[in-house]
Structure formats: structure tokens, C-alpha cells
């Protein structure tokens, strides 16, 4: 009982340890209810987990994840925009957390529904980066060489957007939001479809995956050796001089 009640309190007593800092940053307080995440995002991450670790949490030796941390980011709640021409569109806004020094972004992908089934209607969809129009801006389209979607299932597709995120967004300071546009097309226009489309939520149609590698662990392991070696090499004059000064 004591452990359950005070584990977070105990952690706050040693806030300088890296693990404790991370746990305090990432662990929501006990008073927060576990956010409800259901459907495809949760299924996707559970599948990724079972591919990468066994039942006891031991990382699998043959894991192909290529990263030590993967964050699934859901879009901010947003409703579908009114019909424009043959296209049904939704703007998807993904809030990105500030960069963590110890983690390097290695890959960014967007997973989206390429087939959307509304009652009696089937839509073909794709996602493309959305940036404000200006003469200098180039809009990469989904047919471009850098953005090739790959089919995951009958309804979901994954598309690599690493280059776009790194070039346009990653090193920006302040609040960063990745804007994507989710576009669907249907052959016959229908007023019923328009009503259904306007009821769809952005939370159900796409999510972002950010893959990171932990550079902190490697640095920490390398430190004692390099520091010791450095001090040994410099033990003659520079250190002595500094002490005298």
C-alpha cells in the first residue's frame, strides 16, 4: 500500500537522476485518469510493442524498430471542412513537444486511412503536408519521390515524412505544430455524404509516429573512459596550471 501511494513522492526526492526526471515528466499524476486511447492507434502500438519486446518487456534481439523510443502523436480534435470541389478535406494539426536533448529524431511517418467507409459510401484518401502558400514554398505532393505511401492493411497506409519534418519543423523554436491535410475523393457527389463527412473526427483518420534514438545512454557509457583518458593525457601541465591559477 505504501508503495502505491508514495512511489511518485519517493521519486521527487531524487529528481536529479535522469530516469527519475523522465518518469516525473512522462508519468501523469495518480489523480489523472488514464486517457482513453482505443482503436487503431492503440492496436498499432501494441503490435509494435509485441514485435519489439517479449511478455516480460525484454527487448527482442532481432527487433527491427530501429529506435529506442517511438511516440505516437494524435492530431488535435478537429472536424471535417465543408466540401470543396470533388475533395473532402480535413486539416490535421499535430502538436510536437519541445526537443529533448538526449534524443535524436531518426524517422517520422504518418499513418492514415486510405479508405474511409462511411455508411453506403467509400472514399479514397491521402495525406499531404500543408504549409502556408508563398512563392518560395514548394508543396510536395503524395506523388512526389520523397513521399511514397506504403500499404499496411486494407484501410491503413504509412507514409514517410522524415525529410519534411526535419527540414521545415524540427529545429524551430517555440510551439511547433505539424500541419497535414487529409483529403478524400468520391466519384459521385451526395448531400448525405457531405453530412456524414462533416461528422468525422480527425482523431479517427490519422496519427503521427516519431522515432527517436537515445544518444544520452551512449554518451554516458563513453564518458568515464574518455574523461579518465583525457585527464591522464593532460595530467602534466594543463591541469596543474589550472589548479595554480
Amino acid at each position: 500500500k505504501t508503495g502505491q501511494q508514495s512511489s511518485i513522492a519517493l521519486l521527487t526526492e531524487a529528481p536529479t537522476l535522469p530516469l527519475i526526471q523522465e518518469l516525473l515528466d512522462e508519468a501523469p499524476g495518480k489523480e489523472h485518469k488514464k486517457p482513453q486511447v482505443l482503436g487503431h492507434p492503440l492496436r498499432y502500438m501494441l503490435e509494435l510493442y509485441h514485435r519489439s519486446a517479449d511478455l516480460y518487456g525484454h527487448p527482442r534481439e532481432n527487433r527491427t524498430i530501429g529506435a529506442t523510443m517511438v511516440r505516437l502523436v494524435r492530431p488535435m480534435a478537429n472536424v471535417a471542412r465543408p466540401l470543396r470541389g470533388p475533395w473532402h478535406t480535413q486539416n490535421l494539426d499535430f502538436p510536437l513537444r519541445p526537443n529533448q536533448v538526449a534524443y535524436r529524431l531518426v524517422r517520422a511517418t504518418v499513418v492514415y486511412r486510405h479508405q474511409l467507409h462511411l455508411t453506403h459510401f467509400h472514399l479514397s484518401c491521402h495525406v499531404e503536408p500543408w504549409v502556408q502558400k508563398s512563392p518560395d514554398n514548394h508543396f510536395p505532393s503524395s506523388e512526389g519521390s520523397s513521399l511514397k505511401p506504403s500499404m499496411m492493411s486494407k484501410a491503413w497506409t504509412e507514409m514517410d515524412i522524415t525529410q519534411h519534418v526535419q527540414q521545415r519543423l524540427w529545429n524551430h523554436k517555440g510551439r511547433r505544430i505539424l500541419h497535414l491535410r487529409f483529403m478524400c475523393q468520391q466519384q459521385k457527389r451526395s448531400e448525405i455524404l457531405q453530412l456524414q463527412w462533416r461528422g468525422t473526427s480527425s482523431l479517427d483518420v490519422a496519427f503521427l509516429l516519431l522515432y527517436f534514438n537515445d544518444t544520452h545512454t551512449n554518451n554516458q557509457k563513453a564518458k568515464p573512459l574518455s574523461r579518465g583518458l583525457e585527464e591522464f593525457m593532460e595530467s602534466e601541465s594543463p591541469l596543474l596550471l589550472r589548479r595554480v591559477r
Binding site: P28, P35, V37, L42, M45, Y56, R74
Partner: protein, 125 residues
């Protein structure tokens, strides 16, 4: 590199009583994230096996224990010079990471590998 003592988790017949001579060894130990009070945000795994090291360190630290030179000297000091200097302690030697899947407060989902979370073998130092 010789393997450290207790590098393999002992079998069921051995695990309740520990090694006969209470020598420094690795003990399997499992805890649920519910017991730690973290089950409201950790989705997987359900159980965590940190294990632990327990037992006395021998007077003569043999090679297989992977003890550093300092531990050998401290043992000598305890035996020959000053008994107020303690003998080396039985502590984890090697660790392995654990992968965790958790839900962040904003509803995002995080897969993360945490280093040095499971004790795999023990040493005297």
C-alpha cells in the same frame, strides 16, 4: 571474461531457500506496475522483473565474481587492518533494459526502452 556468479536465475527448488551458504547471488523477483502505483499509465508489460542481489561476499574474491581491484583491497583492509572498514557488498553487476508502452497525459502513446532496469548478474564490490 569469466561469467559472474549467479548469472543464471536459479530453478524453483532453489529459489525459496537461496544458496546453501548464503553466498552473493541473483534472486528472481517480480513486481506488478500496480504494486508500484504506475498501472494508470503503463500499458505493457504488466509485470516487471527487476530481480535483486543478496548474500555475503566471500573472504577471498575469486575471479568469477568480477570484483574490481578495490574490492579485493577493501577485503584485505577489513581482514588485516581495520574491521570498521566493511567487507565489499553484494550488488548487481550486469543489467538489461526493459521496453515499456505507456499512455501520456495528453493521450499520446509512447514506446520506450529504459536501460539498466533488470539485474542480470551480481558482483561483490
Amino acid at each position: 571474461q569469466a561469467g559472474s556468479i549467479g548469472s543464471e536465475v536459479p530453478g524453483p527448488s532453489w529459489k525459496h531457500d537461496g544458496p546453501e551458504n548464503n553466498q552473493c547471488s541473483l534472486y528472481p523477483f517480480q513486481v506488478s506496475f500496480h504494486q508500484l502505483g504506475w498501472d494508470h499509465w503503463i500499458i505493457a508489460p504488466h509485470r516487471y522483473t527487476p530481480n535483486y542481489c543478496k548474500g555475503t561476499c566471500p573472504r577471498v574474491l575469486r575471479y568469477g565474481l568480477n570484483s574490481p581491484n578495490h574490492a579485493i583491497i577493501q577485503n584485505l583492509v577489513n581482514e588485516l587492518v581495520d574491521q570498521s572498514v566493511p567487507q565489499p557488498s553484494c550488488v548487481p553487476y550486469k543489467y538489461v533494459p526493459i521496453s515499456i508502452l505507456l499512455i501520456e497525459a495528453n493521450g499520446n502513446i509512447l514506446y520506450k526502452e529504459y536501460e539498466d532496469m533488470i539485474a542480470q548478474s551480481c558482483t561483490c564490490r
